[in-house]
Symmetry: C2
Subunit: 259 residues, 2 copies
């Protein structure tokens, strides 16, 4: 197919191309880490009933692993990720996204700051997760939380759950400091470094500890964790925050496209 | 974290955020199909030596499964995907991508048309694949090709290989019409529909047929195929076009960032 012979036709096409928009375009503010973003995209596909390409959800994914570390920033040990998060969010909005989701729990510490600066709605990962934890028939009220130090210490899950009027009362089982230092943080770092077997072993020990202290289910509240831990290999049932956000995003897109 | 109390600080941050750019930003023109795009992103991660998030390649991924079917268009049975491909490419360019890659072999029938309309370079999946097929020590010259009807019929691989001055002579083993109708096309469709086991069985039969006619290795020349077929389960060694393009994109990004 020669390009030179069809330049005029193409120029006309290029002009028309600029106005093509896709209703229900999901903007994914990702890269934190990049493997978690791929896991999120995979889970959006799994959440979509589709028999051919065209039935799948359109998405625009900003995977920028260079966004400064969220836990380091929360602990005052590194620069704020907010300028980079805002830049990515604004790029997604400018490119036509109708909603923004962030497949990184800790980055939700800056959720309100981002939402205040973009003109499109955002879906909150904790809301999506609590909604699934509160489904009828799920009578578990004592729930463990596996997450980064910053997500646990900030009360991201605990505070949002207690302020949500429609959520049932949850009795949280949180990792102790020593569990965080020895298992949770190194487990998350291992996943980020691609050492999946090592990460799975460390995080399984942490889940076992929460189980022994009475947790009947565990929220996988850092997007690196469900990359290696799931209902098949976890000692207790899991509530996968990544999958919950993916289902929430797919629902939003399907609703937007049916309007 | 309250948003209202920090609105002024945020406005300043929002202004500064607009100028944040990422050298080596890979633009991925994807969604054809969406599972193949996720596979491509996974392979970019695997091709990157990294121990923490920030060492990974930044990317911007347009995953638009609504782009019209490429094989149907080539056969004159459906609308051209070119306007949609151009729209996606221009969005990636406008959002700051420094290069564009397309994890869909058949879409490369419009590669020259897209390249003529954007101001950034593009990496061609066939070039990346042939480069890996021609590595020193790889003395295979009789190579099978598993690909869509349009990719095979258009000569996308065969013509580009014979016109590449530095490529060794390849003796291609192509699927027969009946192999395409019974195994290759239904196998690709099964992957697109999420029926991975069925897809793997059909495509394995096709690879066996090429092997029996003398192929010593097989190019997986449709990005749905390596989702289910690989060196571990294929009857003959595979040359994975998706992985080759991913490695090519990672090399480009690392070079761009080290400049």
């Amino acid at each position: 197919m020669s390009s030179t012979s069809r330049m005029n036709e193409q120029s006309a096409m290029a002009d028309s191309a600029r106005i093509i928009t896709y209703p229900g375009l999901v903007g994914v503010l990702g890269g934190m880490g990049p493997l978690a973003t791929v896991d999120f995209m995979q889970k959006m596909l799994e959440a979509t009933p589709a028999t051919r390409d065209q039935e799948h959800v359109p998405s625009l994914v900003s995977s920028i692993p260079q966004i400064p570390d969220r836990t380091q920033a929360f602990q005052g040990k590194g620069e704020s990720p907010l300028p980079a998060l805002l830049a990515c969010a604004k790029r997604l909005e400018a490119a036509g996204a109708g909603v923004i989701v962030i497949p990184c729990n800790t980055a939700h510490l800056w959720f309100d700051d981002i939402q205040a600066n973009v003109g499109i709605p955002m879906l909150h990962i904790v809301d999506a997760t609590l909604k699934e934890a509160s489904t009828p028939g799920n009578d578990v009220s004592r729930i463990g939380l596996l997450a980064t130090e910053a997500t646990v210490a900030s009360g991201l899950y605990v505070n949002r759950a207690s302020s949500a009027s429609n959520a049932k009362a949850i009795e949280w089982v949180l990792p102790t400091d020593i569990e965080t230092q020895e298992w949770v943080s190194p487990g998350i770092a291992a996943v980020k470094a691609g050492k999946l077997t090592e990460g799975r072993e460390l995080l399984t020990r942490a889940a076992q500890a929460l189980h022994q202290r009475g947790a009947r289910a565990v929220v996988l509240g850092c997007t690196e964790i469900p990359v290696v831990l799931n209902d098949q290999n976890s000692p207790i049932p899991t509530i996968d925050a990544t999958a919950a956000l993916a289902r929430s995003a797919v629902d939003w897109s399907r609703n937007a496209r049916s309007r």
